[in-house]
């Protein structure tokens, strides 16, 4: 192992499934509450056969999950440069705060005068998000970015309907867009039209113009886009869409490049979702939870979902009913625990430091790009923003694919970048370092990438095809898994 990278090594245990650990009987757990038999009138409904939930003792449970945890790479254990995912450090103090009984143990239907503290924090977050985006009206309800998209499109449809233009249902989506954009459009009953990106990886204004007609409800656009490029024509783009009677929906997944630098509202964007689990550092948790607040301008504000947090003379309250509102998109006011962590992240930076998030994020991406641009093909040269896009074009000549590079990185101690996304280039490798990584880590990663490129050049590719060799598992049979899916464990599978 070179001195540059950490590699991976061993002190981890094989661990069976929890079902294989289970005893014949579950270990008795001592619980509070009212002793009592099954109430009489429920006996005829009683469950006949036990479900088969293990019931391990506490020591066994802890050891089981601690061992499992050690099979994961996390941002706390290593670099995690997944493009479009903004895997940054998750402050530990935020975990403590979100667990304060006075914040975590609140029922969503407590009388509002008993939850003024949390409402104040959430209300303040709304204001901060509105200010950062330059779009002052906010809903915290959407549970993640994708739901934010759905919410935003619903708002746009509501505004169009109010204008008597309910017939507009076409949504323009660049071919570089994330899959959730078209999927959200469909869910909202709209048709997606894909816009081919220009040769520079940016939106092609002519292509856009060609699609702007009376059916257009909205353009959904990500800025910087998923190739990491800022859409420099953004003002013109928004103007054109507005002129054509449509709205501009901003996918805020890449907000990390812009915090404190430029505002979506100033660009002409009408509506933006913010993935707080990206830009504002709430932990990804192996898939979620996230949070996808939506910020909008004056025009869309009347339609925001209920319940809404309002500030009155006698404190904060929840507005549950509003005729113009599109109604709720979730069964609660939002992912409160996640939102509190986002508020804590923003508070730690504050006015004077918030722009440094974007500065260091963009600095890091450009640094990686600068160090790798000779060894890897850069499809869209020039400045990138918070992430940089490479392809495997050069390595392909030696039979090395993006996947091989990714898996080899694992053996060198790094989580791979996002691979094969965006779809607009062949063999994409999208690298997003985020602002919380040190130069030392970036250098180590670049050394690893350069070593892979050199090895590929030298035909020294055996390790790469077999990679990863060091983790607890080597490449997994994903095809087999999909062909004959085994989604639950049964004694026969063992």
């Amino acid at each position: 192992m070179s001195e540059h990278y950490s590699g991976t090594h061993g002190l981890q245990h094989e661990e069976p499934l929890v079902f294989e650990r289970a005893h014949e009987e579950s270990v008795s757990i001592h619980l509070p509450g009212v002793e009592g038999d099954l109430p009489d009138d429920l006996t005829s409904f009683a469950r006949r056969e036990a479900a088969g939930i293990p019931g391990l003792s506490e020591p066994e449970t802890v050891r089981h999950f601690v061992r499992l945890s050690q099979w994961n790479h996390g941002i706390e254990t290593g670099f995690y440069p997944l493009g479009s995912c903004t895997m940054k450090y998750n402050p530990r103090v935020n975990e403590t705060l979100a667990r304060l009984p006075g914040l975590a143990q609140l029922h969503p239907d407590q009388p509002e005068h008993t939850v003024q503290g949390i409402l104040a924090l959430l209300y303040e977050l709304q204001e901060w998000l509105g200010e950062i985006a330059g779009l002052p009206h906010v809903t915290l309800q959407p549970a993640a970015g994708a739901q934010g998209e759905l919410t935003g499109l619903m708002l746009i449809r509501a505004a169009l309907a109010a204008k008597g233009e309910g017939y507009r249902t076409k949504v323009l989506v660049p071919d570089s867009a994330h899959g959730t954009n078209p999927a959200s459009a469909s869910l909202c009953g709209m048709e997606t039209v894909e816009l081919k990106s220009g040769d520079d990886g940016r939106m092609d204004i002519d292509v856009l113009k060609a699609h702007l007609d009376d059916d257009v409800a909205a353009l959904m656009l990500t800025n910087p886009n998923t190739a990491g490029m800022f859409e420099s024509d953004i003002v013109e783009i928004c103007r054109l869409v507005h002129e054509a009677g449509g709205f501009v929906y901003g996918d805020g997944a890449n907000l990390n490049a812009l915090v404190g630098i430029a505002k979506a509202g100033d660009m002409g964007i009408d509506c933006l979702h913010i993935n707080v689990h990206k830009t504002f550092s709430t932990p990804h948790g192996g898939g979620g939870p996230g949070g996808g607040p939506v910020v909008v301008n004056e025009t869309l504000a009347p339609y925001l979902p209920v319940p809404r947090i309002e500030k009155g003379d006698d404190g904060y309250r929840l507005l549950h009913d509003d005729d113009q509102s599109i109604g709720p998109v979730l069964g609660s006011i939002g992912q409160s625990g996640v939102l509190l962590r986002a508020a804590a992240y923003i508070a730690a930076f504050g006015r004077e430091h918030l722009h440094k998030i974007a500065e260091d994020a963009v600095l890091n991406a450009n640094y990686v790009l600068a160090r790798l641009k000779d060894a890897y093909h850069v499809p869209f040269p020039g400045l990138c923003k918070h992430e940089c896009l490479l392809t495997d074009e050069i390595q392909n000549r030696h039979g090395i694919k993006t996947l091989d590079i990714a898996k080899r990185l694992i053996d060198l101690g790094f989580h791979p970048m996002t691979v094969y996304f965006p779809l607009i280039v062949h063999g994409a490798m999208l690298i997003e370092p985020t602002e919380t990584e040190s130069k030392e880590t970036l250098d180590a990663f670049c050394e690893a990438m350069l070593e892979i490129a050199a090895a590929s050049e030298a035909g020294d590719t055996e390790d790469m095809h077999a990679a990863p060799l060091l983790p607890i598992r080597s490449r997994l049979d994903e095809t087999g898994a999909a062909r004959k899916p085994i989604l639950v464990w049964t004694e026969e599978e063992s």
């Binding site: 790479h73 029922h107 939850v115 949390i118 999927a183 979620g288 989604l487 639950v488």
Partner: protein, 448 residues
């Protein structure tokens, strides 16, 4: 800034490598008039960690919470006990700070936990397969309706009026922008009107959605609904709000559910003022390719060792884009791990105790009610409706109870805007002790 590792010297060296002379040059592609002055946002100054702790602690202290009150609130969110172990497990950085397990070789921890979760949930619900989470119960119900439409290629969705109004509103909201209709079937006496539901099922019906136990806590026979679905070729979707129920009463799968959806919050997740919640989604295996959301499958590695991967991703937005079964991407993964750890600790026996005590507390509460309050009739699991003479006497009681550290129930109209303002939705869990019920009764007596 303590989260930013660079020193100024690091920054200048990096700028040099990039070949630009200053930080602002990195943003040269952003039109000048879009730039805002650094530090010009209208925001408070940065807070040090001690200040943030102070701020949040003070806010927390302004709230009253389930730790220092007796919480009889339900309506989809329940104050069950959460062992400290659950929180420790999901607080470990390796679970907490991992992304969706796209690289399975270094994500086996999350993946095995998800597989265990899926298995346990499927078993608890009596269903064949289960995904690795939706946002919450309300969106799970909506997604179930959408899935039923895909499976049956029909467009009409029937919802029992005894499904949690929040689930129904979100579902109607999700369905209202696409073709087809969704209808609510009125209920009666704070219970499901099974006959009316059966009546509403027709040959166009993609699915009927019932809640079991229903929104009002009522437990009832689903057989005629199942039969009507069979006759009409519709799917039966069973929703629920407290998953511990199925350690006590028959699981929806055994009652014939085609799709079973609801909340997993009861399984080791704090109430959290509404989130993060956990939406559960289970269905029959034959429909799995129409299921929304992430799912983990068992497979093996190149050295033939058992391992796990995300699978069936051709259903998902990142592959199928506008044709995906759902737009969901980030989900509630960590909450699945929490539920898995919770269920491992509890086991069948522990879950049954939780459910039995939750039900026993309700029985005890109801059986000791003074006669100026009426409880809804019929079998109930851990939730029911109490009716007062009028809104004033109810609100008077609520205020009095609050004074005795009791959150005595949710005014029904808060969740169900159509309800008269004199009812309380009341729920119990194993966190309610006999003494708390006595105090509840005393508070009722006090406003007699």
């Amino acid at each position: 800034m303590r989260f930013l590792p660079h020193t100024e010297r690091d920054r200048s060296r990096m700028l040099e490598t990039i070949g630009v002379s200053g930080m602002r040059d990195l943003f040269a592609d952003i039109p000048a008039d879009l730039h805002i002055e650094p530090g010009s946002l209208d925001m408070p100054d940065a807070l040090h960690e001690a200040g943030i702790i102070r701020k949040f602690t003070q806010a927390a202290e302004q709230n009253r919470h389930a730790g220092n009150t007796r919480c009889f609130l339900g309506g989809g969110t329940y104050h069950h006990f959460v062992p400290a172990v659950v929180d420790y497990v999901i607080g470990r950085g390796e679970f907490l700070t991992a992304y969706t397990p796209y690289q399975p070789e270094i994500s086996q921890g999350t993946l095995q936990a998800l597989f265990e979760f899926q298995t346990m949930i499927a078993r608890l619900l009596g269903m064949e397969v289960c995904n690795a989470s939706m946002y919450d119960a309300a969106t799970s119900v909506a997604e179930a309706a959408l899935m039923a439409r895909r499976v049956t290629r029909r467009e009409r969705v029937v919802l029992a009026g005894s499904v949690n109004p929040r689930y129904r509103t979100v579902t109607h909201n999700y369905l209202s922008r696409i073709s087809g209709s969704s209808v609510d079937v009125p209920c009666s006496g704070f219970a499901t009107d099974v006959d009316a539901v059966v009546e509403a099922i027709d040959g166009e019906t993609a699915c009927v959605i019932v809640q079991y136990p229903d929104f009002y806590g009522s437990v009832y026979d689903l057989a005629s609904v199942r039969a009507a679905c069979d006759a009409a070729g519709a799917l039966m979707v069973v929703a629920f709000s407290d998953a511990t129920a199925f350690a006590l009463i028959e699981a929806p799968g055994s009652l014939g559910a085609d799709i079973c959806v609801g909340s997993g919050q009861a399984l080791g997740i704090p109430m959290g003022y509404g989130g993060p919640q956990l939406g559960l989604f289970a269905c029959k295996k034959k429909h799995v390719r129409q299921m929304p959301g992430r799912v983990c499958g068992m497979t093996h590695d190149a050295r033939d060792r058992r391992g796990f991967v995300l699978t069936l991703s051709t259903r998902e937005q990142h592959i199928r884009r506008e044709k995906a079964t759902s737009n969901i991407c980030s989900n509630q993964g960590l909450m699945c791990t929490a539920a898995a750890a919770y269920m491992s600790l509890m086991g069948d026996a522990g879950l049954a105790t939780v459910a039995r005590r939750s039900a026993a507390a309700l029985s005890r509460l109801v059986s000791g009610l003074p006669d100026h309050v009426r409880a809804a009739s019929g079998p109930r699991f851990n939730e029911t409706v109490l009716s007062f003479a009028d809104g004033d006497s109810r609100d008077h009681f609520l205020a009095g109870a609050e004074g005795c550290d009791i959150f005595a129930g949710i005014p029904l109209e808060r969740i169900d805007p159509k309800a008269e303002a004199c009812h309380l939705l009341v729920a119990t869990t194993e966190m309610i002790e006999a003494e708390d019920i006595a105090d509840y009764h005393a508070a009722l007596e006090a406003v007699r």
